[in-house]
Assembly symmetry: C2
Homo-oligomer: 369 residues x 2
């Protein structure tokens, strides 16, 4: 027996039923157009709902059908342009059908990530999107795998972005290949003393980019001594500090690669502050190709990661038909040379040609993978 009291002020299905002179079930069916309802009643119901301004309570719906018409997105840092782009890519495909997209921010802390995933699970979202690098911590990966498999057994869908130690469908940019190509690009320009502003060691992204870079440098017979690598935190400030530390430890660097653009922009800023001309005195390159990379000065050479596409593909993965096997979508990355890098002035003419692609207006591109 419904009390009929107005509760939180919103009309309920019961109110509509009463006004239309039908049962709750009929209202539900008419509105959700699941089962056939006579044209006459349907119209009555529609009109009643209209005049009452009725809209269903999502919680009650979610509870009753134990599934929420929403999709949960977990990002490491929602103010990082990298994630903003991924999110942008997700929004279109995710919002079809009036689905809500719920975003939360973990500040790169595994415990928070775990909490949010659990929250989304108990909230019974349709799909869960983990956008952001995985953690190297395998024990954490195991815990998350368990959580996620439970979610999937219950009918939920999951898609990961990046390389995780978590079992599940994923879309992965070719970080390793992109870093390799960037290493080649830098050495082709004649650079031999190259510094790196790295990211948190706990992230697989950091690991992969570093690995690719190493491989590229090794092939060119170049060492990467420890003092040429500093750890940043993927923020602009991290880039500022990173370049400072680097120049202290190794003042003779001719090129610096930052493992993301945001830090590279910080480095650009610090270089200017110190009166170091980029690229004349020092080449600086980034990673990601976030939208502003082309607008800073000098325009940033970087490795393009298809962030928006990654987001869109992840949504497709999570919303498409359930695959029988774990799927991995691999996306290529691409070196984009703008003006923050230049041939090394100090270098004796390199045996390798400086340019491997024909000159094109604006930027030269070297696709990876």
């Amino acid at each position: 027996m419904k009390t009929g009291r107005v509760g939180a002020g919103a009309p309920t299905i019961d109110d509509v039923a009463r006004l239309a002179g039908v049962s709750e079930s009929t209202v539900s069916r008419a509105l959700r157009s699941s089962r056939p309802v006579s044209e006459e009643l349907r119209l009555r119901v529609l009109e009643a709902a209209q005049t009452l301004g009725y809209s269903p309570n999502p919680h009650a719906q979610a509870l009753a059908r134990s599934e929420d018409a929403a999709i949960g997105v977990v990002v490491h840092d929602s103010s990082d342009p990298y994630f903003v782009e991924i999110l942008r890519g997700m929004l279109g495909p995710a919002e079809v059908g009036g689905r809500m997209v719920l975003v939360c921010d973990t500040q790169r802390r595994p415990d928070r990530e775990f909490q949010y995933v659990r929250h989304f699970r108990s909230q019974r979202v349709q799909a869960l999107l983990l956008a952001g690098s995985g953690f190297e911590d395998r024990e954490f990966g195991a815990r998350m795998t368990a959580e996620i498999q439970a979610f999937e057994r219950a009918g939920g869908r999951v898609a990961l972005i990046g390389r995780h130690h978590i079992l599940g469908d994923s879309v992965r940019p070719d970080n390793e290949g992109g870093a390799y190509e960037m290493a080649r690009a830098l050495t082709d320009l004649g650079h031999r003393r190259i510094g790196v502003i790295s990211g948190p060691a706990s992230l697989t992204t950091t690991h992969d980019r570093l690995t690719g870079l190493q491989r590229g440098l090794n092939e060119a017979g170049i060492e990467l001594p420890d003092r040429h690598v500093v750890v940043g935190d993927f923020t602009r400030d991290g880039g500022i500090k990173g370049l400072s530390q680097l120049l202290e430890a190794a003042p003779d660097l001719t090129a610096v690669l930052s493992l993301n653009d945001v830090m590279a922009i910080g480095a650009l800023h610090e270089a200017r502050r110190r009166g170091i001309a980029v690229p004349a005195d020092l080449s600086i390159a980034g990673f990601d190709d976030i939208p502003v990379a082309a607008d800073v000065w000098p325009p940033l050479s970087t490795v393009r990661v298809p962030m928006a596409e990654m987001g869109a593909r992840a949504v497709e993965l999570a919303l498409g038909p359930r695959p029988t096997h774990v799927q991995i979508v691999r996306l290529p990355t691409e070196v984009i040379l703008r003006k923050s890098t230049a041939p090394c002035r100090l270098s004796r003419p390199s045996s390798v040609p400086v340019s491997r692609a024909g000159p094109r207006p604006g930027a030269r591109r070297l696709t990876s993978a």
Copy 2:
């Protein structure tokens, strides 16, 4: 009688109760620490919950107490740095107590805004934050006011950012004052032929900034003919097109003010493409002072809007004690002169001193309001 079946796979309060050998109510009380529970039972419950990996179903909670421990945020464009900053400001204060923050994106379409607000309302979020300019459409304002008042009557809280034709607590940046100050700054530099890349006419933000600008120019005895104003859409592309149109209609402009930074950055790009030196040939200024404004080239002169603070204050408004009267928090804006603006070369020495503040490293500041 609970079936005890595992439902969607997640343990329920019932499972915990059984394992701990107590009643559901005791579990609820122990976990939500509302009422006193004997230490012994509380421990048993906690342990049972722990081993089961129990986490409450938010929908059931929301349904039972008809209130959701979440706060809904409506933004116009989640990839616009302006909103990213506002969001960043909200996150800290909003997330205390494990609250979820749900963000949705309206693409500046009033109908979607209305839909989302209604959705959040029926979802019974604790608070609703409308972040973004209001619409000039008063009829829309009336509809939203009704919706929002219903929400508030039901116990919800609302905070608006910007000037809306909606009744409710709000935090408002001094757009009008900032634009006025920027007009003064530009005329002080000797500029008399000033172009404007405006925003969508439907937004109050556009209106206010334009008004302040007009007032400033009028005071300096300067006209703003129609052909000196083009309408942009607050995107980078809009800025590119905007500058093109402007230069076609009035090639003799010496300064251009874009009504947001994102468009100004587009304009900077277009100027470079055309071989126009900024600021030597043309001064360009923006509005907002988004984080990258200082990193583009040349560093952008702009009107600083305290976006993050706006976000934080809005959260305070919405989460703090319910005020008896409508509250309006007014936040000052501030002109920041960097290198994208310079004295007008063509100008005969102006009677007004070029600089009104002492020179300072990096930027000069003129606070509004």
